[in-house]
């Protein structure tokens, strides 16, 4: 049985932004799963089936319960993560961006961001 990789997982505590991103990705034909806390997102992603279905993971850094980079670290430790991970955060110093990339994120987008550019980046990452 082949698994369709058409799911985008977004973990961000900004409800409006989650809805907006979900709408944008759904309009492109993707299935979107959103989480407002790190704990919820992590427990979903640690299930192998869910991770295999994902084509892109978008993580915020300043979540109410943890740093998005901790989710990324745990995923690298506990799974064989092959899905591209994109960090979307208000933390934008050189040090922050470098720590995100060092932990295995393929790109780091700082807020405020341009939605069309972000969408294009995300789509390019999904296409690989």
């Amino acid at each position: 049985m082949t698994i369709s990789k058409n799911k985008i997982i977004i973990v961000d505590d900004d409800e409006d932004l989650l809805k907006l991103l979900a709408t944008s990705f759904k309009a492109q034909g993707f299935d979107v799963k959103t989480f407002a806390t790190g704990k919820e997102g992590m427990s979903y992603l640690l299930i192998e089936k869910n991770l295999k279905e994902a084509s892109l993971i978008i993580l915020d850094r300043m979540l109410p319960d943890m740093d998005g980079l901790d989710i990324l670290k745990t995923l690298h430790e506990k799974t064989s993560l092959k899905v591209p991970v994109l960090i979307l955060s208000i933390l934008s110093s050189e040090k922050d961006v470098l720590s995100g990339l060092k932990k295995g994120a393929v790109d780091y987008v700082s807020k405020p961001f341009s939605l069309p550019i972000f969408m294009q980046k995300a789509l390019s990452l999904i296409k690989g």
Binding site: D14, D16, L17, K19, L20, T23, S24, A27, I90, K111, P112, F113, S114, L115, P116, I117
Partner: protein
């Protein structure tokens, strides 16, 4: 009997007043509870409409039905922290022009500082050249929460007068206010840096303020005047100029740093050592090796760090210093 009667009446009156006050507080709290819930609901609704409008799924006219000016401003500010780019800027500008700017121009002259704050926030969101004079006036406001936000508007507008005003404020400010203006100016566009670096430096405090701002970011313009400051006999100017030079290295300045590795002032020697980390030359390695023997620990450490950055940690003979630099720095 009459006095007793009078006291009794007074006692009842007092209880009545107490009950009325309690009732008033209760009603106020209930009203506040419901109004804040309603405001939250309206804010949510407005965010949804604005999101739909941003994604071009809905016409922006609908915003008029669900907003008050204050609420719209708050929601636009939240969105402005999320998004940038041409599409968002166009939408933001059109909404500000249609719903907020007229009121902001009126509020800018209000005697209530909260209204002037509203005006400054609108201008900071979408500053227009035609509002430059109002923005400059608001920058002179006695309330920091008005003047500082108006300064953001002036910097976004790259207004030359506004930038100079912000520099003057920086030169006079202390503590948080100083940090705020330095940070604001350093995050300005190339135009802002151009104005800062070409500002007349006759005023001593303004001169230091300019160097302070330039030391926070790598400059996008050539800093021709810096050579004079690097050679200055005034130690405050020299220190500030060295901090700028660290972020903006130039080939011609290496000799100055090498020479100042022997300066009497310990801070200048330390900064010289830091600046030399950008120059991988024999003369630089030699000066830094000498710096390792300096009587000041901070100069020794700065020299060791620079040698490490230059890939010459083998020149550090002191093993404990070498270990510290390699492992912790």
């Amino acid at each position: 009997v009459n006095i007793y009667h009078f006291l009794n009446l007074f006692f009842y009156f007092e209880i009545l007043v107490l009950v009325l006050v309690l009732l008033f507080i209760l009603i106020k709290r209930v009203v506040y509870f419901f109004s804040s819930r309603q405001e939250l609901y309206r804010k949510k609704k407005l965010s949804e409409v604005l999101s739909a409008c941003f994604l071009k799924k809905q016409k922006c006219e609908l915003i008029q039905k669900v907003h008050t000016k204050k609420l719209l401003l708050e929601v636009l500010e939240v969105f402005n922290h999320r998004f940038s780019g041409q599409e968002w800027d166009l939408l933001k500008q059109s909404l500000c022009e249609r719903f907020l700017l007229k009121k902001a121009r009126r509020f800018a002259k209000s005697y209530q500082w909260t209204k002037r704050n509203f005006a400054a926030r609108v201008f900071a969101l979408s500053p227009l050249k035609q509002d430059e004079n109002i923005i400059l006036e608001l920058m002179e406001d006695q309330h920091f929460l008005v003047a500082s936000i108006a300064s953001c508007a002036a910097i976004k507008l790259s207004s030359e007068k506004g930038i100079i005003k912000a520099l003057k404020k920086l030169s006079q400010a202390e503590g948080y206010e100083r940090f705020f203006y330095a940070d604001l100016l350093s995050q300005g566009s190339g135009d802002v840096f151009y104005v800062i670096s070409s500002t007349s430096l006759k005023n001593y405090k303004l001169h230091l303020a300019v160097l302070d701002v330039l030391s926070l970011e790598t400059s996008q313009v050539q800093l021709k005047f810096l050579l004079k400051d690097l050679k200055s006999h005034d130690e405050n100017i020299k220190i500030a100029a060295f901090k700028v030079a660290f972020r903006n290295p130039h080939d011609e300045w290496e000799d100055i740093f090498i020479k100042d590795m022997n300066h009497d002032n310990e801070i200048i020697r330390k900064l010289s050592a830091e600046c030399l980390s950008k120059y991988p030359s024999k003369a630089s390695f030699h000066a830094l090796s000498k710096g390792l023997l300096d009587k000041s620990v901070s100069v020794k450490l700065a020299s060791a760090k620079s040698l490490k950055v230059l890939g010459k940690s083998d020149l550090i003979k002191d093993q404990s210093l070498k270990k510290y630099v390699l492992e912790f720095e």
